[in-house]
């Protein structure tokens, strides 16, 4: 039974990110994994080893696509060539939903390859929602938009980040990929209460959850995906699951990647929380 209308994939359970250092282990040991999340851009090529490897994974596992460069928040229209390549990949993976970030990263044809923060304005919300709708219409697959970690805020902003997220997803009528670690990181960098954020997210739109580790510096926290998940983030995850209900959850580990078994064990810690009874009143 789906927890909500954007979360028809409750049975997906706990996934992990598919990363190159784990390929050999996966093909040799064939571990039981609920699903793998792939970075779409790594496979938006015309041929060669990346696609051959992906095809081998698809023979045995469920795969969900996660993008890093669609840039829904770009002031400009989405890149048509990017969408064309993405659609080719969507047909190959048959991803049940597709996610990318609530951010921008390119302007006037120049790319930063980063997830840059949005000014939280009504104009930005309107443009971002238009881009999400354009992508959904072209790709013909449900879309979930992910909140990012941020290190800067704009004088121009007219609302909080969670109000902006709500404004965008309502206008686009899309799902949310709720990154609990990103909320934690941004709450440290911008001094807000992460539980206020969590409690403001429309639970009925959350299609997927991300958890990850981060790095703490003297004056800010950086979203590095190179550590285990810390306890305060697990507590936030527990709280989120209680509000939202069982939701496909993925552990991100992208740098200083340990063995497959270590990453998998870290992800499976989520089992302790994922089937917790949901709160009646949201």
């Amino acid at each position: 039974m789906p927890a909500n209308r954007f979360n028809a994939f409750t049975d997906h359970g706990i996934g992990i990110g598919l990363r190159i250092p784990h390929y050999a282990h996966i093909f040799e040991k064939k571990p039981v994994v609920d699903w793998f999340e792939i970075i779409s851009e790594n496979y938006m090529v015309d041929g060669g080893r990346p696609l051959a490897t992906l095809d081998r994974i698809l023979e045995q596992y469920r795969v969900v696509q996660h993008g890093v460069s669609m840039y829904f928040g770009s002031a400009e229209r989405l890149n048509r060539e990017h969408l064309r390549r993405l659609k080719t990949l969507v047909k190959r993976t048959k991803t049940p939903w597709l996610s990318d970030h609530l951010c921008w990263g390119s302007v006037d044809g120049t790319y930063s390859h980063d997830l840059l923060p949005m000014p939280y304005t009504f104009e930005a919300a309107k443009i971002t929602a238009r881009n999400i709708r354009d992508a959904r219409d072209y790709l013909e697959v449900p879309i979930a938009v992910e909140n990012v970690s941020s290190y800067a805020e704009f004088h121009l902003s007219e609302m909080t980040e969670w109000e902006f997220l709500n404004e965008v997803v309502e206008r686009a009528d899309c799902g949310i990929l709720l990154d609990v670690n990103n909320i934690y990181v941004s709450s440290k960098n911008h001094d807000f209460d992460p539980y206020q954020y969590l409690n403001s997210v429309p639970a009925e739109r959350v299609a997927q959850i991300h958890i990850a580790g981060h790095s703490k510096f003297k004056k800010y926290v950086l979203d590095t995906h190179d550590h285990p998940v810390i306890d305060p983030v697990w507590k936030m995850y527990e709280h989120a699951i209680k509000r939202i209900g069982p939701t496909a959850t993925l552990l991100e580990w992208d740098d200083k990647i340990p063995s497959f078994d270590e990453v998998h064990a870290e992800a499976r810690k989520a089992e302790k929380y994922i089937h917790a009874p949901a709160l009646v009143a949201l």
């Binding site: 390859h113 980063d114 000014p119």
Partner: protein, 288 residues
């Protein structure tokens, strides 16, 4: 200020080169960013700027190990910063970051000094390597198709094949660089230093020698196959869409090979190309 204006201001701020000590420029426009009690507006932008520069520099560093060996790490770093300042990424993927490096280096010889020609050849080879790795593979012409080849027949090369005419044998150098990199994990510091000295010596002693290469892949691994001038010219002509008879004429234009030798070479080449799956049917013309 519109969204587009904000994004242009922020992109301009974070894409400008970092200072020598990897800090954001002191005159950076950061007025549109809010400071907090720990970081100024410029320091907040600096997090993004450093992240941008480290990411693109790392990407170029990983993609051009041979060019690094030719120039040395410090010169390569200087070149990378200058190149990326003038030619920032114009693609959604970092794979394409080095696509303009050869052209840029041709226009900016001072960044390679006395090793300019060697550096250019290495940059060409390493970009060809990237393309050979993941460009498309199309349907292969089978032996039965090859039996029917006539003089007017056209064929195409696999999109992943790159043909290079080079002034230096950079293929050997690149293979040695790869080997050194593979062995790095297991080697002691002393052994690593010795290898670095060997590599520097090898680069310094590289002598000019015209070679022809087909950069291709087999079983998802990229290979550099040395070919002779006639085979290079024939493959280039086929790749340009010339009919087979015309391509063969071009291949042997300045050749001293006898007719018998030419026939023998052609038989051998077509057999090898068939075995490697290099030839594809001609592209279909669009109707209407």
């Amino acid at each position: 200020m519109t969204l587009l204006e904000v994004q242009r201001r922020m992109a301009h701020a974070i894409l400008q080169p970092l200072t020598g000590s990897d800090r954001i420029g002191p005159k950076t426009d950061a007025e549109f960013i809010k400071p907090n009690d720990r970081l100024t507006a410029a320091e907040r932008l600096e997090i993004y700027s450093r992240s941008y520069w480290f990411r693109v520099l790392d990407s170029l560093y990983d993609d051009f190990p041979g060019l690094r060996a030719v120039l040395g790490d410090r010169t390569f770093h200087r070149l990378s910063r200058a190149y990326l300042t003038e030619c920032p990424s114009q693609s959604f993927t970092l794979r394409n970051l080095g696509s303009r490096l050869e052209d840029w280096l041709r226009r900016n010889p001072k960044f390679a000094g006395s090793r300019h020609a060697l550096a250019l050849d290495m940059a060409r080879l390493e970009w060809a390597h990237i393309e050979a790795f993941d460009n498309a593979a199309e349907k292969v012409l089978g032996p039965e198709d090859l039996l029917e080849l006539g003089p007017r027949f056209r064929v195409r090369l696999q999109p992943y094949i790159r043909l290079l005419a080079l002034q230096y044998p950079v293929d050997d150098l690149r293979i040695q660089v790869n080997r050194a990199s593979d062995e790095r994990g297991a080697a002691s510091n002393a052994a690593l230093k010795q290898r670095h000295r060997d590599m520097t010596k090898r680069v310094s002693s590289s002598k000019s020698e015209q070679i022809f290469l087909a950069v291709h892949r087999l079983d998802f691994t990229v290979y550099y196959r040395r070919i002779n001038a006639e085979e290079y010219r024939l493959l280039s002509a086929l790749s340009d869409g010339k009919p087979i008879a015309k391509a063969i004429r071009r291949a042997f234009e300045d050749s001293s090979a006898s007719t018998e030798q030419q026939r023998s070479m052609l038989e051998k080449w077509f057999a090898v190309w068939a075995e490697l799956g290099w030839l594809c049917p001609p592209a279909r013309r669009k109707q209407g």
